[in-house]
């Protein structure tokens, strides 16, 4: 394969991935309530309509609250877990790490049903807290993986030096280790936030009828007919994801975060 063919192949795949997004972005610009592409009578009225529509603002608020708090929970649980796994290599720490990675490796419908029967048994089915905690558990994998990567990159001589100079365990943690892994905590939070925002099946199973999130709202609306407003919401989701991952890419080392060893050496 020559260089040109290779680049063309990559661009073709990216174009295929972009095609549905381009179409819904176009659809969101329709002047009338129809899903035509190319759009007709170009207008931004559906963007304005979204923020005037009470039935969309409620789910938007729910989604933001759930994503912000559940991502925080995920990082809070992942940080001590990652530190523990990093500082000792025992079967307990390995088992804990596996437990932290498991929710994300399995088909989400399994966890969703587990959470459903759990919250029914606990009598909290249908509460927003049930959704927040379920998301927090489901997404713990992401900060766990990013923080572990950050810890793996710490030069152990730094820690040794601090110890030699008389720093206590707590001081080393606060003044050496934490500052070095803060960027990884932030990217873990960002990953969890974006995925919580987009998550459907767990939110639906745990509290779908009382706490409507944006994905649930979109799916419910699909049954009653398509409107360009769904295109608007989709465009916002895509823009947010590109913004968040773009920022991580700009200020962090995305290839390394995703497992490439030889970038940025």
């Amino acid at each position: 394969m020559t260089r040109g063919v290779q680049i063309a192949y990559v661009l073709a795949i990216l174009a295929l991935l972009a095609a549905p997004i381009v179409v819904i972005a176009g659809v969101s610009l329709n002047g009338q309530q129809s899903l035509r592409f190319p759009p007709q009578e170009l207008s931004l009225r559906w963007y304005g309509a979204l923020f005037g529509a009470a039935d969309w603002m409620g789910p938007l608020r729910n989604s933001l609250v759930i994503a912000a708090t559940s991502a925080l929970l995920a990082v809070t649980v992942a940080l001590p877990l990652a530190l523990h796994v990093w500082s000792r290599d025992t079967w307990v720490s390995r088992a804990l790490y596996t437990l932290g990675v498991a929710p994300f490796m399995l088909p989400p419908v399994i966890s969703a049903l587990g959470f459903l029967v759990f919250w029914v048994s606990a009598g909290l089915y249908g509460q927003i807290w049930a959704t927040i905690i379920s998301h927090g558990v489901f997404l713990v994998t992401l900060p766990l993986v990013t923080i572990s990567l950050g810890l793996a990159g710490i030069d152990r001589t730094l820690v040794e030096a601090a110890r030699t100079m008389g720093a206590t365990q707590g001081q080393i943690l606060r003044t050496v280790i934490l500052p070095l892994i803060v960027p990884y905590m932030i990217s873990g939070y960002a990953f969890a936030f974006v995925l919580s925002l987009n998550e459907y099946i767990i939110a639906y199973m745990v509290a779908g009828f009382t706490v409507e999130t944006l994905p649930i709202k979109i799916f419910n609306s699909l049954r009653y007919g398509y409107t360009p407003i769904m295109g608007v919401v989709s465009v916002m989701f895509i823009a947010l994801a590109v913004l968040v991952f773009g920022l991580i890419g700009k200020f962090g080392n995305l290839p390394r975060l995703l497992g490439a060893d030889r970038i940025g050496d």
Partner: protein, 282 residues
């Protein structure tokens, strides 16, 4: 991982996450197991009990078809995704760090998109008034624009759309660790680029490729919305039926039994990739 300095953190630090995951992850699974053998109360939830009725329903033509549908769709999607993703990933890892970052941002953005949005976007793309139908009609390939959804084809496209970015990200670490000079060496010794790719790159990465096939298979087994949006009822997969039984048929025991089956299949598959990885390192 770097060799960690001994005991940088106090031992009790692990108690919080351990307790948290035990309560909110292990207990839900235990309850799910007990529900799968509980007695169904029609119209309500369930009452405690021990009966295998829900599991016995697996032995039926109806259920056999669901299982077969799920496996066929996921297997087809896994093969298509990895076939497309492998050369993509090899080329990607040879780009500059900056270009790789841009492509990775696009892949992550697509991968994080809600299945609801992907379903909506693809059904719009494949509808009569927008996208593919119009394009083909405009090109004169078909007389009049038509819808391509719901159909077997639409659902398979949807699953591949979900699985492709995932396949690339699963392949990315092992491929990026591969020494590009090996391919160069093969070419210097006179191998055509494609021959070098086929005889050097692919065999070296046989284990990661197989692992990616399994992981994409498990990943697409979890698809629960696309079959409802892009497929017909006979295309409903196990995940759709689990949701349907739990929410709309109010049959939690049967839903739980199907979830346990899906869990066992997924665990077995993921375990297989771990064993493969260990075998490759040894």
């Amino acid at each position: 991982m770097s060799a960690p300095p001994e005991k940088t953190t106090p031992g009790w630090l692990a108690a919080l996450p351990a307790a948290w995951l035990a309560v909110f992850f292990l207990i839900p699974f235990a309850i799910m197991l007990s529900v799968s053998v509980a007695h169904r109360v029609p119209g309500g939830f369930f009452e405690p009990g021990f009966e295998m009725g829900s599991y016995l329903r697996f032995v039926s033509v109806f259920f056999g078809q669901i299982l077969l549908t799920s496996i066929l769709f996921s297997a087809a999607a896994a093969v298509i995704c990895v076939t497309l993703a492998f050369p993509f990933t090899v080329i990607l890892t040879r780009l500059s760090g900056r270009a790789q970052t841009v492509v990775l941002v696009v892949l992550l953005a697509v991968l994080s998109l809600s299945e609801v949005i992907i379903g909506f976007a693809l059904s719009t793309l494949l509808s009569q008034t927008a996208g593919v139908g119009n394009l083909l009609a405009w090109l004169g390939l078909i007389e009049q624009s038509r819808a391509f959804t719901p159909s077997f084809f639409a659902l398979l496209v949807g699953m591949c759309y979900l699985g492709l970015p995932y396949a690339v990200l699963v392949l990315y670490p092992p491929v990026s660790r591969l020494d590009p000079e090996l391919g160069e060496a093969a070419r210097m010794m006179g191998a055509a680029p494609f021959t070098a790719f086929r005889t050097v790159t692919v065999p070296l990465l046989r284990t990661p490729i197989f692992g990616a096939l399994i992981l994409v298979f498990v990943f697409t087994l979890g698809v629960y919305l696309l079959p409802q949006v892009l497929g017909r009822p006979q295309h409903w997969t196990l995940s759709v039926h689990i949701t349907d039984q739990a929410i709309f048929q109010s049959n939690l025991p049967f839903a739980a039994a199907m979830a346990v089956l899906l869990l066992l299949v997924s665990l077995a598959m993921v375990g297989l990739t771990l064993l493969l990885g260990r075998g490759a390192r040894a």
